[in-house]
């Protein structure tokens, strides 16, 4: 009997590996300006997290020839569900690879999205344990808030450019159980898909790459508690001489407040806040037409053209 993955089987986005061709500059940027915390190092990577991320890390920064996505990993609801999802994936004729030697988490099963983005699922994890002055004043928080740089609260989502939006959407919905929350469909052409593993309005998004490239990375997002924090982040970037690509402004899709810029390696980063939660278990995807998207972002800001043309390439493209 075929298993039908359901909403909740994937508990949440776990971490993102980002390749950077300017490793030292990128690392300084993420620690000093963004304000992430270092959890550890391997030969070519540094592992980072925001102060309220509960796992050992949420960002793996890896020294590489080119910048772009290394891989993205999602944590399953349980060990049993991980095994079930893997069986189900393989029954669909997809053969992934188990990776067992991982910093901060247990065995991960790696597959590729239809556009070639490396995707891992895992369950076993090492939760962050604060030591010394990391001990939080609020015992329901994993770590003390450190007011240095932008200091985002937690990893929120990522956006991947793709040629095959429909394929990627079905991959995450059919094989992993994510909920399709919003879509852009131009006439019959799928241009974007937003999917959620949680009550958030999205944990991963795919938008159409208008270049001919496949498997490119669009952006990852760390979240603040308030829109005021995002406005403050914009000032911090200006003061640091970092060019802002677009924002702060509100997305029509997802209703999140956004601010986009590039880390030194050229990967696009977003600092966000807000959005809406979805509680309806039979939520129907909100579908946006070409005409509706022509209105730009929520308050009318035109979507910048680089949004459709700029991404960082997959490793295989090096």
């Amino acid at each position: 009997m075929t298993y039908h993955p359901q909403f909740g089987d994937i508990a949440h986005l776990g971490h993102i590996e980002l390749r950077t061709s300017k490793f030292e500059e990128s690392l300084a940027f993420f620690t000093d300006i963004i304000g992430l915390h270092e959890s550890g190092r391997s030969r070519d990577s540094v592992f980072l997290r925001a102060w309220a991320d509960y796992e050992t890390f949420t960002l793996q920064l890896t020294r590489a020839e080119s910048s772009g996505l290394g891989h993205v990993a999602f944590r399953t609801r349980s060990e049993a569900i991980l095994a079930q999802l893997v069986r189900s994936i393989e029954e669909h004729g997809i053969r992934g690879e188990w990776r067992t030697e991982n910093f901060g988490h247990g065995p991960a099963y790696r597959i590729a999205s239809p556009d070639g983005h490396p995707v891992e699922i895992y369950f076993e994890t090492t939760k962050f344990q604060p030591v010394g002055d990391q001990t939080p004043g609020y015992k329901n928080m994993p770590q003390r808030y450190r007011p240095l740089g932008i200091a985002p609260k937690r990893l929120d989502h990522l956006n991947l450019l793709a040629q095959d939006i429909k394929g990627c959407r079905l991959f995450f919905h059919d094989l992993l159980g994510l909920r399709v929350t919003e879509q852009i469909v131009f006439e019959d052409d799928e241009m974007g898909a937003w999917l959620a593993a949680t009550n958030k309005s999205y944990d991963i998004a795919f938008t159409r790459d208008r270049s001919k490239a496949s498997g490119r990375f669009h952006h990852l997002t760390y979240m603040m508690d308030s829109r005021e924090d995002v406005l403050r982040a914009a000032d911090i970037l200006v003061e640091a001489g970092v060019a802002i690509e677009t924002g702060p402004h509100k997305h029509a899709i997802g209703q999140t407040f956004f601010l986009y810029f590039y880390e030194p390696g050229g990967n696009r980063i977003e600092i966000g806040a807000g959005g809406y939660l979805i509680f309806d278990p039979d939520w129907q995807p909100v579908v946006w037409s070409r005409q509706e998207r022509s209105k730009g972002q929520a308050w009318g800001l035109p979507t910048v053209s680089t949004f459709h043309s700029y991404g960082t390439p997959p490793e295989s493209a090096e």
Copy 2:
């Protein structure tokens, strides 16, 4: 084989029926000062909702001899899960009652918490359909935002006073699958329990009634998008001559920003914002001791004594 309800079986808090002994004043308060929208009426009730609530209503205001909780209803993940939960409940020797004639939703199965609070579960529902000038500018929102009064975004949670905190906690965890997120335990005495059906840090809470009463109602909460909105709500209440019980301030538990006051019928109402989301599928409850709770709220505000002594009674107490 016994079914073990799991996290996600209950999709979310659906609505709350509030009895009020000052029906007309209460109704005016919820529509004019809070800024809820009326969806319909029955003989003794008016049905209300916040602008971003997706169902027909989230608050049923009922004319009654005394004020307090009418009932609280949770929506299940699916029709099949509703049936499964009912079977499971009955296997535990609890015999509920099906209520089939309901405004805005389908059949609901009513049981009582160990402290006697009426609790319903249902799946079938009528989603809100905007008409005319209710049509939202943002198509992912159920209704146009109307800037009148406090205008909260959505129903968030409720808090029930109870003598038997442990019983209520186990009832919602074992029979309905909610996640226990935080607890107060004084020595071996359970004083409070926070439980979630969603990624929010709680959807229902139980706190110890320090009077001898059972089944009393503590408060219900509508949510704003930002803490600034809560500060603005405080000004609206002052301008309307409504006494604030406590806040705005931040809860240590749940980290939500709060503002408490009473509607004319005497039921306690909260306007809130913020808090944290739980993504960890094997989250362990955060347990607060007497000594930790003696520090008051997040920034040191002492918890007001009325919090432990004031509640509105159950219907059976009339």
Copy 3:
């Protein structure tokens, strides 16, 4: 002996008369969507104010053939200073006109700016007296805050397009004592001037009209307490179907948070917040070059082209 007007002689911007060719629509817009309060009417005008404005009115909306500035009025520090300023103006060879029959304030002396904008100065005024449910909960506020529409707090400033920026700057500095706070100078060509009568960074601004017109009106601004309020205003506008010209974003000049749109008559309106206060009594104007202005607004948003080309005409142009 020639009197040299000094900073403080003009106490503040008093009110603005705005002509509108769509009187009924404009009035409905200012009362229902902006949330201003009506204080009274004359034959062709309605007098409006924000809830925290202390005078009888700050906006006179006048039925007219074309939309644009009627006049702008500033209140002097005292009756004696008013007389002194008038003497001084006349010694400069400028002959104004006393207007004695005014709604809400005493005699006003009317002159024209070098670009032809009608400017009045007055001292005697009728302060707003709340009655009934206008009585504020906070006795240091002139009126109860009414949570309806955008509900700005107070009038802040206006911006006038001009051909002769230098002339307008000198007029307000030399004849009225305002402080020049910021300027735009392209090579030797003055493109903009910001002047303050108060500790705010500006109460009036002049920017170069890149059309050939003189005496045009750029915008007037009502102020909110927080940037969150401005973001909320943007949602209110979208929900009301009002097109946003640009923003919300932060001005580099003045550091104010802005949101621009048009009232039905076509006059540009701003809802703002924030900015900086100037305490330094020997403040030197901050001068921005062409190259510095090419960076756009504070966080990089390009200045919209309509900002330099669109304005509403003077009455004489009808």
Copy 4:
């Protein structure tokens, strides 16, 4: 002819000298947790400022036997006005003392308030000049914003405890030209006075010392741009283990958003935001009665009793 000092003669609060008996701890607190910047040192003092303060310093921290006010200094509108104010003061029979060797500013004339608080007035000052990475991204700001600690924007005001509120009020109004903005009068007994040199609702306040001490210091205040920043400051203090005395909450008087705590030396410090501006040149003081003050702060928070009983002593009391 007697000169009558007028509003505007004092341009603004310049700086505050704070004595501390725990110099090293206090210095670390102001630089690491508050996030002030060091401008220089003398034998027993370190000079500090917030990032948007335009003068060399706004806080002089001085090693002393006891903690409390060293002195408070106000900058005059001009050199001529300084001389005029000194003549006027001396005509009132008060003999002050010129201090000519000052870090960061020119000659200051020192007098004592009726309660004995040392007060200086000066005009000549050395404006802060950013060097290296202090150079701001916004050229209308004196320095780059550095996101470290609370990082307030600017010095705002101070509050002094006094036995003779009326004397202190008349001293600042009659001799220095400050505007009386708000007062507390219990029956015929003056309990508090708020005075402004600027459009802010106060730059200095006096509140009745309910102990028998004279000349004590109540608090000084650094200002944030938003109330969200004050809420964030509260979290920073909790995380640093600093006990909050009261707040965040809104003052009824002045309408400012407040947060009070103690620096290691025991001096009370406030982080604030908001409030209202006064533009009316013939503003009448708002007078609060005992009954009105019994309502507590703006949203009903009772005023903490330490507010009336705790202050740090004058130097002469050592």
